[in-house]
C-alpha cells in the first residue's frame, strides 16, 4: 500500500493557485458591499486640533464617515501578552484606539474612516477630510526613547518604558566572571527594523447580517479563532457565538498577519452601524506604515572566554522598540522568545540578558519570521565569530569546543539551559560537520588564501543556530504572561462512506497543510490521500484553534490530529471486534483494515465507518458515529537547529556583496514532506539574506518613513540570490507523536549571521571586525576605506 510520510508529495492546493483561482479576501465580493479608505496622519507625533468631515460626508457615494469622536474612538484592540517590570510594576498598557482622537503617536495612524459605494469614491472623499494637526517632536530610536527629556509617546507615564525584564544568572556573578575572563569580545550594534512584506496586503470584509444578528469577518489572518476571541472578548464585546471569522487563502504572513489589527475591529463595528458589508484592502504604502514591523533592537554585548576558548560568561543589554502601542504578542518577542534562546548551542555557564522595552513614535513592532530568535542567533553567532578572529582561532573550531554534546532526549535527558528552557534533543556538532563537508571548508580556505593574493575578497561565514518552536505548554506560557493557551485542536470526522474530513485550528498561508496533513492522516489510517480533506480557516467549521505562527502547525496541530486518529481507531476497533466476533486485543490494524491476528478474517475501515453510522449490528454501550475532536497541549517547545554557511565575494571597487554559495544543513526532526521543508528553508534563508544585505525600515528624525514603498525598501529579487544548497540531519523530537520540530522559521534564523560573518571574513585582513546591517555597498566601501 502506498505510504506518504517522508515523500515529496506534490501539493493539492497548487491547482487552484496556478490557475488564478485562489480565494484571497480581496477576491471576495458580497451583495451590497461598500468600500472604504482611511485618513492617516502625515505626522509621527502630533496633537489633533480639529477634524472636519463635512465635505467628505456630502461627497458623491459616501455612506458614512467616522472619526475618533464617534463611539469607535473609545474602543481599542488588546495586547495578548503581559510582561511586568522587574520591580513588580505592571506592564504599561496604553489603549490602542481604532481611530485616534486627540493625539497621533505614529506616522500613518488612522484619524478618520470613510465608507462609500466604490473604492475610488471612498478615496476621493477621504481627501476631503480636513484635519488640523499641531506637530510635536518624535522619537523613533528605542535607546533615545529612554534618554531623559525624550518626547513622550504616552503622557500618562513618567518615561517611555513599557516594561523592563531580565533573564539568566545573577548579573553580578556574570560581571565577575567577565572581569576574570582570559579574553572578552564586545559588540554594539543595531538589529534593525524590518517590514514583513507578505505580498498580499492585509484585507478585510466585515458583514453584519441584521436579520440573523450575526457578523462575518473575512480576514487575511494567520489565526481566525484568535482574532474572533480578541474581537469579541476584548475589542468590541460582541457575542462570540454570533461571529464567524473566515480566512480562506492568505498570501503569506511571516508573523504580520497574526495580530488583531484596529482595522478588523473597526470594520466589524461599522458594518453593524451601516447595516452593510464593508471591504478594506491595504495598499503597499499603508502596509509599510501600519503592518507590525519586526526586530529593532539596540544591543550591547560581552562574551568572555577562558584561555582554551571555552565560553565562561555572556552579558547583554538591549533596548527593544515596542512602537506606539503594544501589538498582540509584542512584549513576548524581545523577552520569552529571545532571552530564552541565549544559551544557543553552547555550554555557556553564566548568562544574563537585560531588556528595556520603550514605546517609540513608530508603528508597533511584533513577531516577524523567527520573532526574537533571529535576534538572539544573530548576536551569538556574530560575537562567537568575532571572538574567534580576535583569539586567532578558526570559527568552526571555536564552535566545536563550546557545543553542548549530542543528546536524544529519550535515553539521555534534555539539556537544561541557564535561561529557563530545557532543550528536547540535539546534535549540534552533527549539523556543523555536515555543513562544512557540504561546503568543502578546508578547500575553500585554500581558495580564499589564493584569491587574496590576487586581490579578490572572498569570505566564508558560519552560523550554528537553535530555535524554539511550538511554544507550550499553556500553563507555562501563562505563567510567563501569555493571555491565551498555546494548544491546538484537531478534529477528525469519518464520514459514513469512510471518507475523512479533518478540521484543524492551524492555518495555512503558504505552508501546504492541505497536502502535508493529508499525508500523515493517510498513513495513520491506511487509506488513500484522496479520501482525506483538510479544512481550516473558518471558525464555523473548525471548533477552535490557535492558528499558525512559531512553526507550530505540525508539532502542535499535527499532534492534535494524531490524538483524534487514535480515538477513531480505538472506537473503530470496538466496532470491528463486534463485527468479526473477536476480542479487541486479538485485532491488529494495518493498511486500512482490522484483522484477527494470525487469520485472514478482517473488516475494512470503510465497513467499520458505515457500521458506525448505520448501527444495526452494533456493540452494546458504544455510541454511533466516528467523529472525534482533540486538544493537544505539548509538554515542551521543540528545538530545531542547524548550520548555515555563506560564501561571499566583495567587489573591492564598489563594496557590493555577492553571495556565491549558501549551504544549509538543518535538523527539523522528522520530515513529513521534504519538498515542502526545503521550500520553507529556501524562503526563510532569502528573508534572512534580505535582512543581512538589503532590507531596512528607516524613519528619519521626525518619524517620517523614508522607506515606504518598493522603490525605497529593498526586497531580495531573484537575481540577488544564488541557489540554496540544502541537506538535513534527523534528530526526532522526543515529545510529540510525529517526532517533528518545525521548519517555518529556521531559514530566517540561521542565515543572517552567516552572511554578515562572511562579509567580515572577506574584509578581515583589511582590519574590518564588524559591520552594521544591512550590509550595503556604501557601508562596505566605507569599512574598507577606514
Amino acid at each position: 500500500m502506498e505510504t506518504f510520510i517522508g515523500k515529496p508529495v506534490k501539493r493539492r492546493e497548487d491547482n487552484r493557485f496556478l490557475k488564478g483561482a485562489g480565494k484571497y479576501t480581496d477576491d471576495i465580493k458580497l451583495h451590497g458591499m461598500t468600500h472604504s479608505a482611511f485618513v492617516r496622519s502625515p505626522y509621527a507625533h502630533a496633537k489633533i486640533v480639529s477634524v472636519d468631515t463635512s465635505a467628505a460626508e456630502k461627497a458623491e457615494g459616501v455612506v458614512a464617515v467616522y472619526t475618533g469622536s464617534d463611539a469607535c474612538g473609545t474602543i481599542g484592540v488588546p495586547c495578548g501578552w503581559q510582561v511586568d517590570f522587574k520591580n513588580g510594576e505592571t506592564m504599561r498598557e496604553p489603549m490602542h484606539p481604532l481611530l485616534a482622537k486627540d493625539k497621533i503617536r505614529h506616522l500613518g495612524e488612522a484619524v478618520a474612516f470613510v465608507i462609500a459605494e466604490t473604492l475610488e469614491l471612498a478615496r476621493d472623499a477621504a481627501e476631503l477630510v480636513d484635519v488640523k494637526y499641531e506637530a510635536l517632536p518624535a522619537v523613533t530610536c528605542p535607546k533615545k526613547a529612554m534618554a531623559s527629556g525624550a518626547p513622550k509617546v504616552h503622557d500618562e507615564w513618567e518615561d517611555n518604558a513599557a516594561f523592563d525584564w531580565c533573564i539568566g544568572n545573577d548579573r553580578a556573578e556574570v560581571e565577575a566572571a567577565l572581569a576574570n575572563a582570559h579574553h572578552v569580545t564586545e559588540m554594539t550594534y543595531k538589529n534593525h527594523r524590518l517590514a514583513p512584506n507578505a505580498i498580499e496586503p492585509r484585507s478585510y470584509i466585515a458583514d453584519y447580517d441584521v436579520n440573523a444578528d450575526k457578523w462575518t469577518l473575512y480576514t487575511s489572518t494567520q489565526n481566525p479563532h484568535l482574532v474572533r476571541l480578541l474581537l469579541c472578548a476584548f475589542a468590541l464585546g460582541i457575542p462570540e457565538h454570533k461571529v464567524r471569522v473566515v480566512s480562506y487563502d492568505v498570501g503569506g504572513g511571516f508573523g504580520s498577519k497574526i495580530y488583531h489589527y484596529t482595522e478588523e475591529a473597526l470594520l466589524t463595528w461599522a458594518s453593524k452601524e451601516i447595516g452593510r458589508p464593508i471591504k478594506w484592502t491595504s495598499d503597499r504604502t499603508e502596509a509599510f506604515l501600519t503592518d507590525a514591523h519586526g526586530r529593532d533592537h539596540i544591543v550591547h554585548s560581552k562574551m568572555g572566554f577562558d584561555k582554551d576558548g571555552k565560553i565562561v560568561a555572556h552579558l547583554t543589554d538591549e533596548f527593544c522598540a515596542m512602537g506606539a502601542y503594544l501589538s498582540t504578542f509584542a512584549p513576548a518577542v524581545p523577552t520569552y522568545l529571545h532571552g530564552t534562546l541565549f544559551q544557543g548551542v553552547y555550554t555557556t555557564p553564566l548568562i544574563h540578558l537585560n531588556v528595556v522595552a520603550p514605546f517609540t513614535h513608530t508603528v508597533p513592532v511584533d513577531a516577524y519570521r523567527g520573532a526574537g530568535r533571529p535576534e538572539a542567533t544573530y548576536l551569538l553567532e556574530r560575537i562567537i565569530s568575532k571572538a574567534a578572529k580576535e583569539m586567532d582561532m578558526d570559527p568552526a573550531e571555536l564552535r566545536f569546543k563550546n557545543f553542548i554534546s549530542p543528546f536524544n532526549g529519550t535515553t539521555e535527558p534534555g539539556y537544561q539551559t541557564q535561561v529557563a528552557l530545557q532543550y528536547d534533543s540535539g546534535n549540534y556538532e552533527g549539523v556543523l560537520k555536515r555543513g562544512l563537508e557540504m561546503l568543502g571548508y578546508e578547500d575553500f580556505r585554500k581558495e580564499q588564501a589564493e584569491a587574496r593574493k590576487n586581490g579578490k575578497l572572498l569570505g566564508v561565514g558560519i552560523s550554528t543556530y537553535i530555535e524554539g518552536c511550538g511554544i507550550a505548554p499553556s500553563a507555562v506560557v501563562g505563567s510567563l504572561g501569555a493571555r491565551a493557551g498555546l494548544y491546538e485542536v484537531g478534529h477528525v470526522r469519518v464520514q459514513p462512506t469512510g471518507k475523512v474530513s479533518v478540521f484543524t485550528g492551524a492555518h495555512s498561508h503558504g505552508q501546504g497543510h492541505e497536502t502535508v496533513f493529508a499525508q500523515f492522516v493517510a498513513d495513520k489510517l491506511g487509506i488513500p490521500m484522496d479520501d482525506i480533506d483538510i479544512v481550516h480557516g473558518d471558525t464555523d467549521q473548525v471548533a477552535f484553534g490557535m492558528g499558525t505562527y512559531g512553526s507550530r502547525s505540525l508539532a502542535v496541530g499535527g499532534s492534535a490530529i494524531i490524538k483524534s486518529i487514535e480515538k477513531v481507531l480505538e472506537k473503530g476497533a470496538k466496532i470491528a471486534a463486534h463485527k468479526l466476533e473477536a476480542a479487541e486485543e486479538d485485532l491488529e490494524y494495518a493498511e486500512g483494515k482490522w484483522t484477527v491476528k494470525g487469520t485472514d478474517k478482517s473488516i475494512s475501515f470503510g465497513d467499520v465507518s458505515l457500521t458506525a453510522y448505520v448501527p444495526h449490528d452494533y456493540p452494546e454501550g458504544v455510541e454511533p458515529g466516528l467523529d472525534f475532536s482533540s486538544f493537544y497541549d505539548p509538554t515542551n517547545f521543540t528545538y530545531p537547529f542547524g548550520t548555515h554557511i555563506a560564501v561571499v565575494e566583495v567587489c573591492s571597487d564598489t563594496g557590493k556583496v555577492e553571495i556565491k554559495r549558501f549551504v544549509a544543513c538543518d535538523d527539523v526532526g522528522n520530515v513529513m514532506n521534504p519538498m515542502i521543508v526545503d521550500g520553507q528553508i529556501h524562503g526563510g534563508v532569502v528573508q534572512g539574506i534580505g535582512q543581512a544585505l538589503l532590507e531596512e525600515v528607516v524613519y528619519d528624525g521626525e518619524g517620517q518613513m523614508v522607506t515606504g514603498s518598493y522603490m525605497d525598501y529593498a526586497m531580495p529579487r531573484a537575481d540577488d540570490i544564488p541557489m540554496i544548497e540544502t541537506d538535513r540531519t534527523t534528530t526526532p523530537c522526543p515529545h510529540n507523536p510525529l517526532g517533528v520540530k518545525g521548519a517555518g522559521e529556521a531559514g530566517a534564523i540561521g542565515s543572517t549571521p552567516a552572511v554578515v560573518n562572511a562579509v567580515v571574513d572577506a574584509l578581515s585582513h583589511l582590519g574590518v571586525t564588524d559591520i552594521q546591517m544591512p550590509v550595503t555597498p556604501k557601508r562596505v566601501w566605507k569599512a574598507m576605506q577606514s
Binding site: 515529496p8 506534490k10 501539493r11 492546493e13 497548487d14 491547482n15 487552484r16 493557485f17 496556478l18 490557475k19 488564478g20 483561482a21 485562489g22 484571497y24 480581496d26 477576491d27 465580493k29 475610488e120 512584506n197 507578505a198 505580498i199 498580499e200 496586503p201 487563502d249 492568505v250 498570501g251 503569506g252 511571516f254 495598499d283 503597499r284 504604502t285 498561508h509 503558504g510 505552508q511 501546504g512 519538498m675 515542502i676 526545503d678 521550500g679 529556501h682 524562503g683 526563510g684 534563508v685 532569502v686 528573508q687 514603498s709 518598493y710 522603490m711 526586497m715 531580495p716 529579487r717 531573484a718 537575481d719 540570490i721 541557489m723 540554496i724 531559514g747
Partner: protein, 154 residues
C-alpha cells in the same frame, strides 16, 4: 469611456472610468481575480498579464490604454482542465507557496520563455527581476522555469 478588449480569447465592450487600472478592470468588472495587486509602484509583478503577447504590469496600465488590445491573464493559461506546461512545472517543482505572486510569476515565465526558449539560470533570474516572491526564495521558481523550458522544447 467606451473600450473594447479581447481577454483570453473573448471580446468585451465596457464603459470604464478613465482612471481605472487594467488590474482593477480585470478584477472588479470581469471578476478575473487571478491577477493580483501587491503594490502601488510597479514593484512586485503580482499583476503581470500579457498585452498583445508581451508581459505588462496591469496595475500601471489604465483600462482605457488597452482599448483594442488582446490580453491574456492567468485564467487563460490552462487549456480547460489541462494546465499549461509552465503551470505543470511550477507544481512539479514546488515553485509556489502562498500562491499570491504565482499568477504574475507564471505570466512572466511565459514571457521569458517566449523570448528565450533556452534561458540560463542567470537569464531566468534576470527575467524575474520585476517579480517579488516573499515565500519561495526564488530557488524553486527558477527550477520550475528551467523545467518548463525543457518540457516545452521536448
Amino acid at each position: 469611456m467606451q473600450i473594447s478588449v479581447t481577454i483570453n480569447g473573448k471580446t468585451y465592450a465596457h464603459d470604464v472610468e478613465p482612471r481605472i487600472s487594467l488590474a482593477q478592470y480585470l478584477r472588479e468588472t470581469l471578476n478575473l481575480t487571478g491577477t493580483h495587486i501587491g503594490c502601488d509602484t510597479s514593484g512586485c509583478g503580482s499583476c503581470t498579464v500579457h498585452v498583445d503577447g508581451a508581459s505588462a504590469k496591469a496595475c500601471t496600465l489604465l483600462a482605457v490604454q488597452v482599448d483594442g488590445c488582446e490580453i491574456k491573464t492567468i485564467e487563460g493559461m490552462a487549456n480547460g482542465s489541462e494546465m499549461h506546461p509552465i503551470q505543470e512545472a511550477f507544481k512539479e517543482n514546488h515553485g509556489l507557496q502562498c500562491g499570491f505572486c504565482t499568477p504574475g510569476m507564471v505570466m512572466t515565465a511565459a514571457d521569458i520563455l517566449k523570448n528565450n526558449p533556452n534561458p540560463s539560470e542567470e537569464e531566468i533570474r534576470h527575467g524575474l527581476e520585476g517579480n517579488f516572491c516573499r515565500c519561495t526564495g526564488y530557488h524553486n521558481i527558477v527550477k520550475s522555469i528551467q523545467h518548463a523550458a525543457e518540457k516545452m522544447n521536448a
